[in-house]
């Protein structure tokens, strides 16, 4: 088989699948949605899957001996299998449904971390991380005396792998916990290389896939990672559903997380025995409808193709970066090259990012301004905040044009000159 070049996306047709683009904002302006790194918009097939579940299949799962409950259970497990195939998992039991990336990482900290880490053990993370991949490790440091180390970036926004190697060589590193794609800079980290370094030193690798699973083709076995965390709501799915993936053997060796119904084999007045994987980690009634709708989101993404989506975002970056660079007083952050995702952080003169975002908003352009839950990174960059535009499959060049025009207007309002 020859690798064929991905076909160009038919963005007009894709946009027709997303009902939100039928509305206008700020007195009749068409919506320019450039905040998909925060959450994606939803295609009608996902919205229908969610509503449809409640309309025709709603029942609790795994419990009732009746048709509806059987049907709900089947649809829940079908969604699990679909997500497993999507990320190249060896078996669908390796998919643990959680609420979001944050919960998935916390689950690793509370199960693997709490059962495997001793005082003095080291978890290496990076200054690029979202707070959700920092705070759980700080919590373990406070409770158990583990040590958290941070790999720095260079001035282009790329990880300093030499520092990672130094930590791995000199310290008892048990886990490397790193984001695949930076939500603030768009840096795509070299996961395969990081996995090799971590494994050579006997450490496991946790990948925060919140910004990569929605945008890049991912194969967990090919990447050779140990834990993968991601959120449904950033990949066309609903809020309230996310995934922790880990190899079956690894998951099977871990203690449960929350205790309650669904996660046990037996309970007596003396104690309990935990259930199998993944039920062991899904205590209580799960978000069944949200999982089913996530399955529909994966189906939509697969139909378009992740390689094509990535290619589309690369061409939007190629279109946007030189046009943005011409705006007076703009400063663009993040690496330029093949290791850059569709995320553009910038500052504009000395205008506060909230003022930039507020002016863009009056033009119907939705972007994010703030620290993006990456305060250590902001400090490293020497800024309190940036404005961030992020792309997805439904964005097109017209969105970039509107962004650029609105930024030029912000320059005029605030008198920023080049």
């Amino acid at each position: 088989m020859t690798a064929s070049k991905p076909v160009q996306l038919d963005v007009a047709r894709i946009r027709a699948d997303f009902p939100i683009f039928q509305r206008t904002v700020r007195d009749g302006k068409p919506l320019v949605y450039l905040d998909s790194a925060a959450t994606s918009q939803k295609p009608v097939s996902v919205i229908e899957a969610l509503a449809g579940f409640y309309r025709t299949s709603n029942a609790n799962i795994h419990r009732g001996i009746y048709e509806l409950s059987e049907e709900a259970s089947i649809r829940y497990e079908e969604a699990r299998a679909r997500v497993a195939r999507f990320i190249g998992a060896a078996r669908s039991e390796e998919i643990v449904f959680v609420r979001n990336t944050t919960e998935a990482i916390n689950m690793v900290a509370r199960t693997w971390g709490a059962s495997r880490l001793r005082a003095g053990d080291v978890v290496v993370t990076t200054v690029l991380e979202h707070h959700s991949n920092i705070v759980p490790w700080h919590q373990l440091a406070a409770e158990r005396g583990i040590v958290v180390r941070f790999v720095d970036i260079d001035d282009t926004g790329r990880l300093r792998l030499d520092q990672l190697e130094t930590f791995l060589r000199n310290e008892p590193v048990k886990l490397v916990a790193v984001t695949h794609v930076s939500n603030a800079l768009g840096t795509i980290n070299p996961v395969r290389e990081i996995a090799r370094l971590a494994h050579e030193a006997g450490a496991l690798l946790l990948i925060d896939g919140a910004q990569s699973v929605p945008h890049l083709p991912i194969d967990v076995r090919e990447l050779s990672i140990d834990f993968l965390a991601f959120s449904g709501h950033k990949m066309l799915g609903p809020f309230g559903i996310g995934v922790l993936w880990a190899r079956y053997e690894l998951l099977s060796a871990l203690p449960p997380f929350l205790g309650g119904g669904g996660m046990i084999r037996t309970v007596t007045t003396e104690g309990f025995t935990p259930g199998d994987v993944p039920a062991r980690f899904e205590a209580g009634t799960p978000s069944v409808a949200d999982a089913v709708a996530l399955g529909a989101a994966v189906e939509y993404l697969e139909a378009i193709g992740l390689a094509a989506i990535r290619q589309h975002e690369v061409s939007l970056l190629d279109y946007a970066l030189p046009r943005l660079a011409e705006i007076p007083g703009i400063r663009l952050y993040g690496p330029v090259g093949a290791d850059r995702a569709g995320v553009i952080s910038f500052t504009l003169g000395d205008i506060h990012p909230h003022d930039v975002a507020a002016i863009l908003d009056t033009h119907g352009v939705a972007v994010r301004a703030g620290h993006h839950c990456t305060q250590p990174l902001m400090r490293r960059l020497g800024v309190t905040a940036t404005t961030r535009a992020s792309f997805y499959l439904y964005n097109w060049e017209a969105d970039v044009d509107r962004l650029v025009a609105a930024l030029r207007e912000a320059c005029r309002v605030f008198g920023v000159a080049g």
């Binding site: 506060h352 009056t362 620290h371 309190t384 207007e409 605030f414």
Partner: protein, 126 residues
């Protein structure tokens, strides 16, 4: 042009009134808005229960800084009782631009800091 950034706001942002610090303030307070990182400090000189001099310093978005500048002009010479009477809406009216719920704390940080400095009430003005 945008409603939010009318000339008055931009003028106070770019040419803030009563900007700086006082050498020996009678009262002084500083606070920040964790959401945006806006930061404002207010120094007061008080005589006969009246604000006889005021300075503010800080950094942050145009709304927070312009609002502080406008507030200093509004309260200079006023009695502490009059400052006590000042509510959130009074300051929002002075700003004269529509403030969305997301920017309300930007607009009101200066009043919060003033009230904390003047009589120790450290909470968001209503």
């Amino acid at each position: 042009m945008s409603d939010l950034y009318r000339e008055q706001i931009l003028d106070h942002y770019q040419n803030p009134r009563n900007y700086g610090t006082l050498d020996h303030p009678d009262r002084s307070f500083e606070d920040s808005n964790p959401l945006c990182g806006d930061r404002i400090r207010i120094d007061l000189k008080i005589a006969d229960d009246r604000i006889v001099d005021i300075r503010f310093s800080g950094r942050g978005c145009a709304i927070s800084q312009a609002s502080a500048s406008i507030l200093t002009e509004l309260v200079k010479g006023k009695s502490l009782d009059e400052v006590r009477e000042l509510g959130a809406q009074d300051l929002l009216d002075e700003l004269g631009v529509p403030i969305s719920p997301a920017r309300r704390k930007c607009a009101l940080l200066s009043l919060k800091v003033l009230k904390a400095a003047a009589y120790g009430l450290n909470e968001w003005p209503s």
